[in-house]
Amino acid sequence: MNVYAPILILGLLAFGFAAFSVVTASITGPKRYNRARVDAYECGVEPTPQPVGGGRFPVKYYLTAMLYIIFDIEIVFLYPWAVAFDRLELFGLIEMVLFIVTVLVVYAYVWRRRGLEWD
């Protein structure tokens, strides 16, 4: 069998198990309707509206996600370089230093503009 097929089989088994648990739980448990119980939990106060119902959430998280993409791409470029390092030698090192410095310019800019602060 090829090297990727076992992952698919393990994935199917795991998915089957998870789906089975989710479905079973809705059958085995008791059902007693209670209006207060199906309200969103907010320590007893009237729940605030949420995105599913049209609310908002802090844009800060969006910024973090974008920064993550920049750095994740940097990492993905570092991996093949690291694997082939012994064949690239000095040339590879200089190229990669230039690349990392370029990314660090972005990093310094974000830091300076206080994009990494939480308050």
Partner: protein
């Protein structure tokens, strides 16, 4: 098209693949049940309690009974929930937790029912990248669970978890680079074999420390368990989940713990290779023994997780993010550059190891001084900024701004309430006047 193979992988007959899949599945479920029990017992011992000891010998069946109890509990679906996403989120979490384990090696080649096969489900040239990819998909489960609950606490908890996990994934990814540099491969089995002479935890200690820190952040465990900070967010992203859906999130968390521990073992502690006193025994690497060494190493990490939880208080969220972005990431990048430069210098300029060590020490010292100067400068700037903000707040504080009266903070002077203010005197910022006024009545 021929089936792709990689070394001894991809040659197993179909029935052997199914045996291995079932073996891994059962092992992960049992490890989860065991780890939950073990965690409760160890934390109890550390807090001078006994812990669960009623169900089965030493309370070992406790987590199993908890699972059965959860299955018999009523399932509450909040009325604001987005049903389809709400149902699929725990399934995503659990599935990705299981399949990330597919490339972890837990032993060399053994014979199962007469077929020679490595003790690892599968492997390919980029298997560590695969683990990172699957871990990223696992975040979907959490963020979707938080969003689909239609409730405040889960939403904030889900966003926090995802922000935390992606931030620490960068540090985690960077800590792998030095390992790939030394091993010359991204395949887990090749990395283990490359550590036969010496563990990477020894020669790449900074990478190892960064990885261990990042893996605690990545799995949302104490002291980085901010997504479930009870005092702030109730249960975090799974506040609105009950019954077996909740159990699936729990299962996913513990499997992820085992997976990151196993990855740490694979990349830094030599995987299944026997540690020193045992390696003197010739039979240590024969048959199924290596799997035991692997299991012991993984359990050491799991014990560390539990120990951290019992010892350390939870960090504040801004400190936590600051630590990830402003400390772990620059330190890992600098470390990668040092390792790469040292390797090139050794190969091209032919420096001795001693010269390299001295050079490295000097470089690190210079970097520490530079970062210290930079840090103290930015601290001073932040202090000035805070002072200015404080001064502005003092001038503009209005007790009725929010529609209801709010008492002034220390150092603030309420506008329009003091006799002097009413008399048209400008606002005072000095503390002594405030106390004087209090005496005046």
């Amino acid at each position: 098209m021929t089936d792709p193979t990689f070394g001894p992988f991809g040659l197993d007959p179909w029935w052997l693949v199914i045996v291995k899949v079932l073996g891994i599945f059962v092992m992960l479920v049992l490890l989860t049940l065991f780890t939950i029990w073990w965690e409760r017992r160890v934390v109890a011992r550390m807090q001078h309690r006994v812990g669960p000891n009623r169900v089965g010998p030493f309370g070992l069946l406790q987590s199993l009974m908890d699972g059965i109890k959860l299955a018999l509990k009523e399932e509450i679906i909040p009325k604001g929930a987005h049903l389809a996403v709400y149902w699929i989120a725990p399934v995503i979490s659990a599935t990705t937790a299981f399949i990330a384990f597919a490339v972890i090696p837990f032993g060399p080649t053994v014979s199962i029912f007469g077929v020679e096969t490595p003790l690892q489900l599968t492997d390919f040239p980029v298997s560590v990248l695969y683990v990172l990819a699957i871990a990223s998909i696992g975040i979907y489960g959490i963020v979707l669970a938080g969003w689909a609950s239609g409730s405040t606490y889960p939403l904030l908890g889900g966003l926090r978890s995802s922000a935390q996990m992606i931030s620490y994934e960068i540090a985690m990814g960077l800590s792998f680079v030095a390992v790939f540099l030394y091993a010359g491969s991204m395949s887990t089995s090749a990395i283990v074999i490359a550590q036969e002479p010496i563990w990477y935890a020894v020669i790449l200690l900074p990478s190892f420390l960064i990885y261990v820190t990042a893996m605690v952040g990545e799995t949302n465990r104490a002291p980085f368990d901010l997504p479930e900070a009870e005092g702030e967010l109730v249960g975090g992203f799974h506040t609105e989940y009950s019954s077996l859906k909740f159990a699936l999130f729990f299962l996913a968390e513990y499997i992820n713990m085992v997976t990151v521990s196993a990855l740490a073992t694979t990349l830094f502690l030599g995987g299944y290779i026997a540690p020193w006193p045992l390696s003197l025994w010739d039979g240590a690497m024969s048959g199924w023994w290596p799997m035991l060494w692997w299991l012991i190493k993984v359990q050491v990490f799991i014990f560390m997780f539990i120990w951290l939880r019992a010892t350390l208080p939870r960090m504040r969220y801004d400190q936590f993010m600051k630590f990830g972005w402003k400390v772990l990431i620059p330190v890992s990048i600098v470390w990668i550059l040092i390792v790469a430069t040292a390797r090139v210098l050794r190969d091209e300029v032919v420096l001795t190891n001693r010269e390299l060590l001295i050079g490295g020490a000097v470089t690190i010292a210079i970097l520490l001084i530079v970062s210290w100067v930079f840090q103290s400068r930015s601290d001073r700037r932040a202090a000035v900024r805070a002072e200015r903000q404080q001064a502005e707040a003092n001038l503009t504080f209005d007790p009725m701004a929010g529609g209801y009266p709010v008492p002034p903070m220390p150092g603030q002077q309420a506008v329009g309430t003091s006799r002097r203010a009413r008399a048209g005197v400008t606002i005072v910022q000095d503390r002594s006047d405030v106390t004087q006024e209090a005496i005046d009545g």
